[in-house]
């Protein structure tokens, strides 16, 4: 029998992996990818809560999260491409100035 606890535990594991990825990687692309993992983990717990509470709201929130994540990724990748053109690197440490 799969309970809500199993889904929450899985979501926590994925979230922790994503968090470690965000914290440890210097590469901006990798940070964006790990952010996707964080969003995926929270989506999983939303859907699990929705199923076990008998309420559709969780699934709708996941729908909106996916929409916002798509916009976020588009902007983020545009900034990464710009950064690569200016600095010819995508290491986050190289972003030292506030104004280009």
């Amino acid at each position: 029998m799969i309970t809500l606890g199993n889904y929450l535990a899985l979501s926590g594991i994925i979230f922790s992996i994503g968090l470690i990825g965000v914290m440890t990687s210097r590469n901006v692309l990798k940070v964006l990818l790990s952010l996707e993992l964080l969003l995926a983990a929270s989506n999983l717990s939303f859907v699990a809560f929705s199923k076990f509470n008998g309420d559709y709201d969780g699934q709708l929130i996941v729908f909106f999260v996916i929409l916002v994540a798509a916009a976020e990724v588009a902007i983020g990748l545009a900034i990464v491409v710009l950064m690569y053109r200016r600095l010819s690197t995508i290491q986050a440490d190289e972003l030292r100035t506030m104004k280009w």
């Binding site: 799969i2 309970t3 809500l4 606890g5 199993n6 889904y7 929450l8 535990a9 899985l10 926590g12 994925i14 979230f15 922790s16 992996i17 994503g18 968090l19 470690i20 990825g21 914290m23 440890t24 990687s25 210097r26 590469n27 692309l29 990798k30 990818l33 996707e36 993992l37 995926a40 989506n43 999983l44 859907v47 699990a48 199923k51 076990f52 008998g54 309420d55 559709y56 699934q59 709708l60 996941v62 729908f63 909106f64 996916i66 929409l67 916002v68 994540a69 798509a70 916009a71 990724v73 588009a74 902007i75 990748l77 545009a78 491409v81 690569y84 053109r85 690197t89 995508i90 440490d93």
Partner: protein, 173 residues
């Protein structure tokens, strides 16, 4: 039947997300995120959230990750540039913070006794049910997301235009 599927897809999901964080080659990072998203949408189907699972496949695996792949190929990064020399001294600190979070989360989930005994309800997130709620209760947020996407498009276009003009400057000078 269902428990085995849960454990299979959970194992694939954990393994793929470890690959996302660990793999050296950026292409492998992106492709293992595709695998992770696929198994996540399988888990959504196990939870009978069909609509959200399908949207996740279409939008994430279909659009967002292709965009990622496009950028990775466009930047033409070699592996050395990515994993370059100074793999910082704060790296272990980040790892510690992540592990601390995992520990806290494990304790929280364990103490949440109700989660262990709750029975799954019989709701099914089909397109019909989700669509009905989306166009009645959630109509305003749904329409507002179109503005969000519009603003995102404006942002990208203005960023790209700035890049083009400065690129010309660099060529001229």
């Amino acid at each position: 039947m269902s428990p085995y599927f849960f454990y299979i897809f959970a194992a694939i999901l954990i393994f793929a997300s470890l690959c996302v964080v660990m793999a050296r080659n950026p292409l492998y990072n992106v492709l293992s995120l595709v695998v992770a998203i696929f198994s996540l949408s399988c888990l959504f189907v196990l939870l009978e959230a069909y609509f959200v699972g399908m949207i996740l496949l279409l939008v994430y695996a279909g659009a967002v990750l292709v965009f990622f792949l496009f950028v990775v190929m466009c930047l033409n990064l070699n592996t050395i540039a990515l994993t370059s020399a100074q793999q910082g001294h704060f790296r272990w600190l980040g790892g510690m913070v992540g592990l601390m979070f995992a520990l806290t989360f494990a304790l929280a989930t364990k103490s949440f006794i109700k989660a262990q005994t709750m029975d799954p309800s019989s709701i099914r997130g089909t397109i019909e049910t989700i669509g009905k709620i989306l166009f009645t209760d959630y109509l305003l947020p749904f329409e507002l997301t179109s503005f969000l996407l519009l603003i995102a498009i404006f942002g990208i276009v203005s960023l790209a235009q700035g890049a083009l003009s400065t690129g010309k400057d660099v060529e001229n000078s």
